[in-house]
Amino acid sequence: MRNLSSAPRLAVTLLALPGLAGAQPAGPPQGGAPEDFANVEIHTLKTQGHVFMLVGAGGNISVQVGKDGVLMVDAEYPQLSGKILAAIRRISDGPIRYIVNTHYHADHTSGNQNLRKVGSTIAGGNVAGDLGAEASEGASVIAHNNVLGRMSGALGKAAAMPQDAWPTDTYVGDEKKLWFNDEGVEIIHVPSAHTDGDSIVYFRKSDVISTGDLFVTTSYPIIDVAAGGTINGYLDGLQKIVDLIVPVYGQEGGTLVIPGHGRLCDLGDVLNYREMATIIRDRVQDMIKKGMTLEQVKAAKPTFDYDPLYGTTTGFWTTDRFVEAVYQTLLPNKERGDGKK
């Protein structure tokens, strides 16, 4: 069996390499990236059970730790890999075994290439003596198969991301299950929501859900229409999250929820967000039924009462872009012309 204690040493080595942390992959344009990564801090918050939440500049990272090693959900930007690894090492010296990508966007996945290199696959570790060290090199990167399609350029029009960042282990059905660190881990696919390759990750014993961008607290729902996202799929995803949650009382406690961006949450927060998204969807749907054009819908301000919470006219996901995405994905099939239901 491979000596697992080499992983921390490798991590230290990685941190010492000046050029590595700055490796920037080409990829689909993503909003929200900080101008100066040097000033970004990675904050760590214990949620419950085995699961921690890392907050930096990209999507939140969930980290599950235990005797089997480290499982990460998403990997932020490569410029932050050194800081992320340092944060992980403060809570575990175990090897990074898995990185689960909730979707393909670079603010969640472009750190894959650095962080997977400091990990090792379990299968590779077990048989490394027979097959050589290469067999155990790198953590497994798990994602829905459409994430691989998007990151490799096989799906869509976005440029391919570096191959080192691609998923190494994809699934095509409704879910993929793991047993890791004494708990079941469910990776559940939600189709046509934020993108066409979304996964939420449910840590069953810790009772924590990592949602990726199927739920955020910092903006209106981000719907990547070009990558197959739809408002109704997004709402289905929120319902899926609600269905998994068991609160202690009322709407609080019990299952905790790590959003793709924003603060730690529980049932009440997801319900409020689902309420907002449903109400705005219903308003836009009603306007479409009345024959209103997109410009007329935007002028009617269907988000007006929620704008103090989620609205913005700057940045990559403006209120207008959200309304456009809702409108576009609610249009009847023949008017939209993309063949989707």
């Binding site: 904050h43 918050l45 939440m53 907050v55 709402l235 289905d236 319902q239 609600v242 009382y249 009322g250 709407q251 609080e252 905790l256 924003g262 603060r263 730690l264 949450c265 529980d266 049932l267 009440g268 927060d269 319900l271 409020n272 689902r274 309420e275 449903t278 109400i279 219903d282 308003r283 009603d286 007006f304 009462d305 929620y306 704008d307 103090p308 919470l309």
Partner: protein, 289 residues
């Protein structure tokens, strides 16, 4: 025994006495512990019967919050996941009796926290008195929020943040999760006045002030408050009851019933102040039809 030590020993009893006399003033000026009965003589219809639909008068809300209220459908409360939703910390003072108790460090006898149990939904708050910082913004928000307190003379002043979205009034006027609440607990013998000041950058134009009065109850007991959700209406689980803007026909009922002009019923900071009455009278505003 030298002279210096003799002086020190001679002073010791007085120092102990001084410390004993001052300890209460140092750590807690007033004892708030006990069961307090809620007095409903202020704002009764709003508090126990419950506010009427479309009554936003006297609340310093902005236009966005007004639309939240206008499009709110009370049927939302029939959804199973909403039935046991607790009243948030800044609204709970409206309803029922409370129990307050203090938590001291055994060794130092420093006041660590003041706890508050509220009858409605059995909610409990902890007001930290030990100077600990508030959590980072990315930490969990709750209905009770995170509270720290300090004594300002005999008044306990509490600052609460990390609140979940709640409501200013339980007829759909939302209070955002960005609100910061300042409270003052003022004991006057067997009376307690609980003042709540809500600052909400998302939905308020000015701070919202409320006061509630309680009377000390020597033999007070607080009953349990179990709540279990049931399916009241069969509907698709993704359905969210709400009114589309401009379609809520119930909004006019309050205005017609009480002869309140629509402008006043719709609230806003101006409607908080006494001079607003004279403005309405001068404008010749009559009740909505």
């Amino acid at each position: 025994m030298d002279q210096v030590r003799q002086i020190k020993i001679a002073r010791l009893p007085s120092l102990i006495l001084a410390a004993a006399l001052s300890s209460g003033a140092t750590f807690a000026q007033v004892n708030l512990g006990g069961v307090w009965q809620n007095q409903l003589d202020e704002d009764f219809p709003d508090r126990l019967a419950g506010p009427e639909l479309g009554d936003y008068a006297g609340l310093p809300i902005n236009a966005a919050d007004r639309l939240r209220g206008e499009t709110w459908d009370a049927s939302l409360l029939t959804l199973p996941e909403y039935q046991c939703r607790v009243h948030p910390a800044d609204y709970a003072s409206a309803f029922a009796d409370i129990r307050i108790w203090e938590e001291y460090d055994r060794d130092t006898q420093n006041l660590v926290a003041i706890h508050l149990h509220h009858f409605a939904w059995g909610t409990e708050r902890t007001i930290w008195m030990d100077g600990r910082p508030h959590p980072p913004e990315y930490a969990l928000h709750t209905a009770m929020g995170f509270s720290t307190g300090k004594w300002e003379g005999d008044i306990l002043t509490v600052t609460t943040d990390h609140l979940k979205e709640g409501w200013f009034r339980r007829n759909g006027l939302a209070r955002s999760d960005r609100a910061v609440v300042t409270e003052h607990f003022i004991r006057h013998e067997n009376g307690l006045t609980w003042v709540t000041v809500v600052n909400d950058p998302a939905y308020l134009v000015e701070p919202l002030y409320r006061s509630r009065d309680y009377v000390f109850s020597v033999a007070g007991q607080i009953a349990p408050y179990p709540c279990e959700s049931v399916e009241e209406i069969i509907r698709p689980k993704e359905a969210i009851p709400h009114h589309l803007p401009g379609t809520n026909s119930f909004l006019k009922e309050y205005q017609a019933k009480h002869g309140i002009p629509e402008e006043a019923a719709m609230g806003g900071p101006e409607t908080m102040y006494p001079e607003y009455r004279s403005k309405l009278a001068g404008a010749g505003a009559g009740p909505a039809k």
